[in-house]
Symmetry: C2
């Protein structure tokens, strides 16, 4: 018996291997996989087989001379088979090689009502079959990219010596002081405090917890699931999503922005290099501007403007007659996505950090600037999307932080967080990247439900 | 101004660098870090500085001639400082180099009641200050190893082409059919189904969800937090813990055991190579048998015995007068930890897979063997610990699985899982490793509360 090959191996040797490797590749090969399509003209048949290890299918050819021709021609889309055959290089054809079938075995059949027949399915339809859609091209590409991008994140921080911290999911505090929280109850009497002795929820951010570790390891990050019980039915909100939250010690807002820029560019380079097939697919079928857009970002230096300058730009645009849906522009307002996009798409024409936001619209832990009005925050805005990353220099002064927490009434349960400032607490800075939105940005996919393996949004849960 | 160095860089160049690198290292260096100890004899002082990037401290020497001698001698444990000075190689001393201080700046002071003064603290005391204990040697070592081991896991599977899947935390089903679940409520009226329209909880396992992805990508894994609302107050149980759950397609129980063995050996090799300082520390101060034990495992081939053989061994031990706390040995029983440890420690003297457990004591998704009594499960038992990994070949036969799910009454909400068997569902196998227990195994730490950044156990939550 021939040890089965995986299609990724065959594609890599044939597309990128040395002459030596190519010469040594076995000509008798075995594959196991799922049938994407099967067609024949009575004399010759073609099976498109995908074994899950590579985005592209392998073409299996069977001839009328094969004693199993009749059985082969009846094989259905979705069925799993194993095949042995002869590997034939086809440098002039669309695919670089094909396999001339000798033997096959049906491993697992699929009925004729298998939902993923070869035709275009709507993303809405495919969302209803989340357990099967990874077999469809778009989702196969999205979830492989999701995996590669996760690895890229770990690789980026690991190479720079960051320590990865598993901040807790279950927590008794709420980092943002905002945002709806899911609370936990246990089976016995469904009371809120029967297990831990107090009301607990699932986390909205690991930032506060990871800050403590930056005071021990200098550079740290957390990367895990976070939750919001907000019932927003938009294409960009989910109630469960993954966040990347680095925290760096002995570092200010400038260091923070340098790191954000490096991280985003690394992610783009990584997927362009390691997900070539998938990125080609997205550029062809999902968003034809994707490749240009990402290459532009790679080539550009991220601009930096203050919130005050951003407001001036928006006021000028309004005076010049630009029609915003939210036309009420004033210092102190939150920027809406249309405002962010005006700045990136119309003015900067590229990624831009907006810094030094009014203290009233930002979180309590951000460092107050000397003007007494603004805080050392930085949001990265990118064309076509708006905000991609949010970060800040943290308030390291015990008295300033304590006063602010007292004002906001959130000191209870966060004494330990305040404590960090007492015991050799140095200046730290950090940021958060919504991982699912980063995938949307890198693939052109418009709905967060289509980048999550099993999307979690208000009102529906099937899996 | 000199760009600050990190101590890891200095240690690596001095301990492992080439002659060329060593020659080119700057002699004027700058460091930022936290003071672990400060002592002087009136003429010369020694600061042990840790900057978080390396387990070992850097020794900073200051002389009476330094105009700041008085200020330096008053610096307290826990305070953060920046220093510049001259790097001096000290090949004959305990530490390979020291820094002769020129200038310093106090960045953040620590009061004299800073809790981590230089003395032995009990783990129980340190658990009460989870936000500070990463600065203590043992926990600094544990959490850096936790980070490195996470990376090792991702690296292991990524190199073999596995796709990493973020299986959902929020879910409407319960993989094990056992185990207490935390349910979610939202703020509005604390009802169980007001957000998703049905009762949902947080996951006990990602296995069922990841199985669907194995039917698309062949080899996949999930690695994330899982939860149990069991109020067990043992040293091995927590209500939140991370699990590694791979799933491989076209694979049976033998393939599964091969992968488990490879994975565990990779993890051991990885931490021995990449956490040398930390592993030396554990071997010296936590468990003096650790290093020998892990090297033994690396050198051994994992044995494989059936559950039936295991019961025979235990019955023989009992007949020979071995006194078990649970002396009631019979075919069909669950193995207690003492039974598992008897087999590994006394009989096999090494790691062993126990396979083919009675169907009644194992989960519904495990493949039924032809004997009608057992299922294709495999637990990996290791000396000193007992069960480290649990896995199985999955029931791929639609009718067999359906019947079993009907018997156990858990088909509702899992129709999609059963469906996987209908649409080209091939044989898959998989396993679960409790990540926190793996860390305990690799460090010798005896309590799960001491390997989790912010431990979550029943009855207490401070962070």
């Amino acid at each position: 018996m021939i040890t089965p090959h995986v299609s990724r191996y065959l594609y890599e040797v044939i597309n990128f291997g040395s002459e030596e490797e190519l010469k040594n590749i076995q000509t008798k090969v075995a594959l196991q996989g799922w049938i994407r399509t099967n067609r024949d003209n009575g004399n010759v048949g073609f099976l498109e087989l995908n074994d899950g290890t590579y985005f592209k299918n392998v073409q299996i050819v069977y001839q009328k001379e094969n004693v199993h021709f009749q059985d082969l021609s009846k094989l259905r889309t979705g069925a799993a088979i194993s095949v042995t055959g002869e590997l034939i290089l086809t440098p002039d054809a669309k695919q670089p090689f094909e396999i001339k079938l000798d033997e096959f075995e049906l491993l697992a059949d699929a009925p004729s009502d298998y939902p993923l027949q070869k035709k275009r399915h709507s993303f809405e339809f495919l969302r209803e079959i989340a357990h099967l859609r990874p077999k469809a091209n778009t989702f196969n590409a999205v979830f492989r990219l999701r995996s590669e991008l996760s690895f890229a994140i770990h690789n980026f921080f690991h190479e720079m010596g960051f320590v990865y911290v598993h901040t807790p999911i279950i927590t008794s505090n709420d980092a943002e002081g905002a945002g709806e929280i899911f609370y936990l109850v246990t089976g016995k009497d469904n009371s809120l405090d029967d297990f831990y002795g107090k009301k607990v929820g699932i986390t909205v951010s690991g930032q506060l917890h990871v800050e403590a570790f930056a005071q021990a390891y200098r550079d740290v990050y957390t990367f895990g699931p976070t939750f919001r019980a907000e019932a927003s039915h938009t294409s960009r909100h989910a109630s469960e999503f993954w966040m990347i939250e680095p925290e760096i010690a002995f570092a200010d807002l400038e260091d923070n922005m340098d790191l954000i820029e490096e991280c985003i560019k690394y992610c783009i380079s990584y997927v362009l290099l390691h997900c070539q097939e998938e990125m080609d697919f997205f550029n062809k079928f999902v968003d034809k501007t994707l490749s240009d857009r990402l290459h532009d970002v790679l080539a550009s230096e991220f601009k930096r403007i203050t919130y005050t300058e951003a407001i001036e730009l928006l006021e000028k645009a309004k005076a010049d007659g630009f029609a915003f849906d939210n036309p009420d522009i004033f210092w102190g307002m939150d920027l809406a996505t249309e405002h962010e996009r005006y700045i990136t798409d119309q003015v900067i024409k590229g990624p831009v950090f907006v810094t030094d936001y009014p203290r009233e619209i930002k979180a309590f832990y951000m460092r107050e600037n000397d003007d007494g009005k603004t805080v050392a925050a930085c949001d990265l805005l990118v064309p076509y999307v708006g905000e991609l990353v949010g970060g800040s220099q943290r308030e390291e002064r015990y008295d300033v932080l304590k006063k602010k927490m007292e004002e906001q009434g959130n000191i209870e349960g966060l004494e330990w967080y305040l404590d960090l400032r007492k015991y050799g607490g140095v200046q730290t800075s950090g940021f958060g990247i919504g991982f699912d939105r980063l995938i949307m940005y890198l693939t052109g996919i418009q709905n967060i439900r289509d980048v999550q393996p099993y999307p979690r949004t208000a009102g529906s849960i099937k899996y």
